[in-house]
Assembly symmetry: C2
Homo-oligomer: 256 residues x 2
């Protein structure tokens, strides 16, 4: 166990670069997990963590201290931990990990979620969580999406990342062209109600950016254009909410 | 039209206090709408806006400039607008409004959404949007929720606020006790599948805080305990996603 109190420490400076810069995370192939829940979820799926960082005050007792007992870790001052600014409310525990790469290519015969330009980290994390909970195993992201493995998206994903194949920077149109199940895009125009649409076999759901929705080129390619009926006074949903409604309508039909 | 270039201007200082402090917004009974979409949604539901603030650069052309033509407004320098720090990406247009108060008391005979300690502004805004889209007219918030009329929650709500009766700082248990329809709480224990549960008449859905879920006292009071079946490798959803799944299962049954 080593203690770092100085901003000028080389290891701390490296942490800070990883915390602040998506480019640095990409270059190093590393990212940061914040919090005990993510650390435990990682170990359950991916094996032991070796590079742990803890805030001094979190060592004095509580669940992080209990979990760390017998493990090697780097201790940093509370102020230094706050200054990393990774998430709004840092937990006191960080793990530095190699950013996982998908072990296999996208599978054109399996369920998939395709995300077209989803930029809000909270929405992206929630979408990954919904996909994993619904039993979808692969998610493809267009180049315009937020970085899936950023600390904020990891936090919002609550461990969903570790059970998914996440394919970033993908050409979604190319995947739709080779997909052997049904592709579905959510849109308000010329669309079938989610509850009336007929489908069978593997499904690839396309969800679009907040605001502008799914790109016209992808809507054109979709086998089914789907709208969620909204009886209320507003006619749009947050993309994470809309995706959850669609994915769990798939779950409902498969269960019943 | 008046132009403000100085941080020391009294009107700007007032704006900054409103932007930064929930207490100030409460004391003044005023809040801030960011962006053209919210401004238009307000006017569609609540009548003309009178107190408009625009960033200098947004006046030089574009949809904000078009919409402002012929209206009185206060112009502030772009740096001053950024320094208000209301949302991560300010649109360039602000409206100062009186925070609406619900015109009527909570209705124990109508559909309702009850939020127990939902603190994330993005989640809260998304929940309000889902309620409004599903046709639920009233939302009750416990004291532990984020302030519904904060600029961040307004932005995430995308106008849903203006079509809802929003009752803040409520004792949810009291409302559940007098509610004349069915109350439903989402929980993982001793719960019926959302897709197998039987219900009729008005529904009051209780959704809980991120992390700890619905309080035990409210779960005990609920007429139905509901769980969303999750066939995947993770067994939890973001609260906004879970609420959307439940509310649109209600919509689906009523439509079909």
């Amino acid at each position: 166990m080593k203690l770092i109190q100085s901003r000028d420490n080389a290891y701390y400076k490296q942490l800070k670069r990883l915390a602040e810069s998506g480019r640095e995370r990409k270059k190093r192939g590393r990212t940061l997990l914040d919090g005990l829940h993510l650390a435990q979820a990682w170990e359950a799926q991916r094996g032991p963590l070796s590079d742990l960082v803890v805030a001094e005050s979190a060592l004095s007792g509580g669940e992080i201290a209990d979990w760390l007992a017998g493990r090697d870790c780097t201790v940093i001052g509370d102020a230094l931990m706050r200054e990393l600014g990774i998430v709004d409310t840092p937990s006191g525990l960080l793990a530095v990990v190699d950013t996982p790469q998908p072990a296999v290519a996208p599978d054109p015969d399996a369920d998939a979620v395709l995300l077209d330009g989803v930029q809000d980290p909270g929405n992206l994390g929630s979408l990954l969580r919904s996909a994993a909970a619904a039993g979808v195993g692969q998610v493809l992201l267009s180049a315009g999406c937020a970085a899936a493995w950023s600390p904020k998206v990891l936090r919002a994903g609550q461990g969903a990342h570790f059970v998914l194949s996440i394919h970033e920077d993908r050409d979604l149109a190319d995947f739709m062209d080779v997909y052997r199940g049904t592709t579905l895009a959510t849109t308000l125009e010329r669309a079938t109600s989610l509850y009336a649409a007929q489908w069978a076999g593997p499904l690839a759901w396309v969800f679009g950016a907040e605001g502008r929705g799914v790109s016209p080129a992808l809507i054109e390619r979709a086998g089914l254009r789907i709208r969620i009926p909204m009886p209320g006074a507003v006619e749009s949903l947050n993309v994470g909410a809309a995706a959850a409604v669609c994915l769990f309508e798939m779950v409902r039909r498969r269960l019943t």
